[in-house]
Amino acid sequence: MERAQQAAARRDGIRAPRVGLFVTCLANLFRPSAALAAARLLEEAGCSVEAPQAQTCCGQPALNSGDFNDARQIARRTLEIFEGFDYVVAPSGSCVRTLRHDYPDLLADDPVWLPRAQQFAARAFELTSFLHDVLAWQPPRVAVPACTLTYHDTCSGLRGLGIQAQPRALLANIEGVTVKEMKDTDVCCGFGGTFCVKYPEISRKIVDDKIGNIQGSGATVLAGGDLGCLMNIGGRLKRRDVDVKVYHIAEILTGMTVEPLGEEPS
């Protein structure tokens, strides 16, 4: 449906879109506040949100390690769990890229499952692009403590889903946030899933370059749309004792009411 139509439908009180929240395993364990914030934003935007208990992980650890059989089985069960929803939305570009692009690839030779995967792919959205592109929604004005924020474009979201303008557009309504672009914001942070564990030294060099650019921007807050990348950059910032606060974009849009990633509530 077109954006304008969508907005009109909501105004006219047509049934709220049913959104299945794909929580992501990193948010579930390390950063529930990111997924809770995502749910809140979706509800504020007029959706009814459910988080099916049967969901687990999108399967990337298997897929990116060459274990395609397990990845395929995980894909099938994820498809089944979310099939009844109008949309599937995740606070992650990386997981949605897998739902949207890898699932149809994995099931390409399966005449029964391929159409299901393709229909599913068409309904799977990363949070900021869903809010901005599909719902044409702007968050209500909210004030946060004054800060300079720089946004890291995570690779899967940027190149896999075309996410670049959406988070920045959504940030426009957040009072107190001054966005300052860093140099090479579209360059990888060195996370790469298993890469950062298998090749920590190379990952360190790449993430240190990223941190140099973050510092160069003068930002005090780093935001992004993927917890993998944020945990990598944030963890390295902590290790080097660099004072930059790390948040998921959904947490900024809901008023930065939680502690930054990697900091214990006082």
């Binding site: 950063r31 988080a51 208990q53 990116n64 990888c188 890469f195 950062c196 920590p200 963890g235 214990e264």
Partner: protein, 480 residues
């Protein structure tokens, strides 16, 4: 200069060395600043660049689908122009053919234009082993030859060398009789190489070049260069040998025009390289110059095997180097870490395919799958997808380490059993919170050394998302 690398070193040890080498790091630092921005600018000036990429992909796919036809057509045309085509199924056979041509020509000095396939088959070592003197005439190749090294980049072979290292090398190898000028600027060094190499072109018996394209309709071989050394190599020696992989063939001269528009922009951020040289057969009656004999060695060396399998798309590669220029891993460790002459993303796919995956086990994995390489590839090779497929080949062949396989089994089991998954998540939260103590982030976790070696891990909150969500929803229900 060895085309292989001693088997005692691994990708990881080479990468570690590269990261600790300040001169290499300084040289690599120039990459991002220069080429990426320049390419972006020159590409933005050509609105149809995306269309050209799509067209180039189609042409390459068409050629690969009909490779036998175009190669035979090409051979017939070369023959008609008075040249001789040789077919080499592997590197050893290619070396033998070239060696025989050189011996028959009674060659003492052989000049070489830049060619990756020449590096691939080890032509330089073969000729030197037979007592001939081989002179690399491309500046970058000449530098790595003097340093007894492999090229570290397919377009800029001496990318890993700093200016000071190059002037030191020249001072060491060039006598005052050869050059006694200054070595202060880049122009000085280029002038020095030109002066020294100029003499070699005149005394060379055989000149060997590669080919960017082999044109089926005319039997021409085409090289795109910037220094003019390729022209001198191919025209001044008595014998010209063209070495090329079988996938270099294109149907027509129009196709050369298409690829030329993409190549210069992608490789060196130029609209076109300074020289685009067409060689068609030996010198004819009435020609002012040219070689007396013209040979083409068509090299398979694993390519037809790749053609038949699931990695065919890799054969679209036109060797522009854009993928490595944009690769964060290449930018961190440079080309030598990859262990062979093809580095970066294209090498991480090609080396396992040509040399065997066992020998290159790290390469498909040493990639963050960030996708920048595929975004800039002028022939749209889905490099990250191919790397993931190679990981699949490794997994199926049980080349993945036992500990990784065990972890994957555990992961697979959890991901398909939600109750167990939620239990494991809760348990992990508890364990990590215990390890973390009072701090918000954790500096050391048993069995997560790869992560915590360089970065902290955030301490999870006491309750997982699902625990909090259930609670929240239950409260809402009650309030209603």
């Amino acid at each position: 200069m060895s085309p292989g690398v001693s088997s005692s070193s691994t990708f990881k040890t080479r990468a570690t060395g590269a990261l600790a080498d300040p001169q290499l790091q300084a040289a690599l630092g120039m990459l991002g600043e220069g080429w990426i921005e320049k390419r972006r600018r020159v590409v933005s000036l050509l609105p149809e660049f995306e269309l050209l990429r799509e067209k180039a992909k189609e042409v390459k796919d068409h050629v690969l689908e009909n490779l036998d036809t175009y190669l035979e057509r090409y051979e017939a045309e070369v023959t008609r122009q008075g040249g001789i085509v040789h077919w080499a199924s592997d590197a050893a056979q290619a070396r033998e053919i070239i060696l025989k041509i050189c011996r028959d020509a009674d060659a003492k000095v052989v000049t070489r234009g830049k060619s990756m396939v020449g590096e691939e088959i080890g032509v330089c070592e073969a000729l030197e082993g037979a007592g001939m003197r081989v002179v690399e005439t491309d500046l970058g190749e000449y530098i790595v030859q003097l340093a007894h090294e492999m090229p570290s980049h397919i377009v800029f072979p001496a990318l890993h060398k700093t200016f000071d290292q190059i002037t030191d090398l020249f001072a060491e190898h060039h006598s005052a009789a050869e050059y006694d000028g200054p070595r202060e600027t880049v122009a000085d060094v280029v002038g020095e190489a030109r002066q020294v190499l100029r003499q070699q072109f005149f005394i060379a018996d055989v000149g060997i070049t590669g080919a960017n394209y082999l044109v089926a309709e005319t039997g021409s071989s085409v090289i795109c260069t910037n220094e003019g050394n390729g022209d001198l190599t191919s025209t001044l020696a008595r014998v010209h040998i063209v070495t090329a992989g079988i996938e270099r063939v294109v149907p027509t001269l129009d196709d050369v025009a298409l690829f030329t528009r993409l190549l210069g922009r992608s490789a060196t951020a130029q609209e076109i390289t300074a020289y685009t040289t067409f060689s068609t057969g030996p010198k004819r009656e009435g020609d002012l110059d040219g070689p007396g004999a013209y040979h083409v060695v068509l090299i398979d060396n694993g390519r037809s095997r790749v053609l038949a399998g699931q990695f065919r798309e890799m054969l679209r590669c036109i060797r522009c180097g854009a993928c490595m220029n944009h690769c964060p891993v290449y930018g961190a460790v440079g080309g030598h870490a990859y262990g062979w002459i093809y580095p970066g993303p294209m090498g991480a796919v090609l080396s396992p395919l040509l040399q065997g995956i066992e020998k290159n086990a790290d390469l498909p994995n040493a990639c963050t799958l960030n996708g920048r390489c595929a975004e800039v590839c002028p022939v749209k090779i889905p490099l990250p997808t191919l790397l993931k497929k190679l990981r699949g080949v490794q997994f199926d062949a049980r080349l993945t380490s036992p500990s990784s396989r065990w972890m994957l089994r555990v992961f697979g089991a959890l991901a398909q059993r939600p109750r167990l998954y939620h239990l494991a998540t809760r348990l992990s939260a508890r364990v990590l919170r215990f390890i973390g103590g009072r701090r918000g982030s954790i500096a050391r976790v048993p069995f997560a050394g790869g992560w915590t070696e360089v970065r902290d891990l955030p301490k999870p909150p006491a309750r997982t998302f699902f625990d909090q969500w259930r609670n929240e929803r239950a409260t809402e229900e009650k309030q209603r």
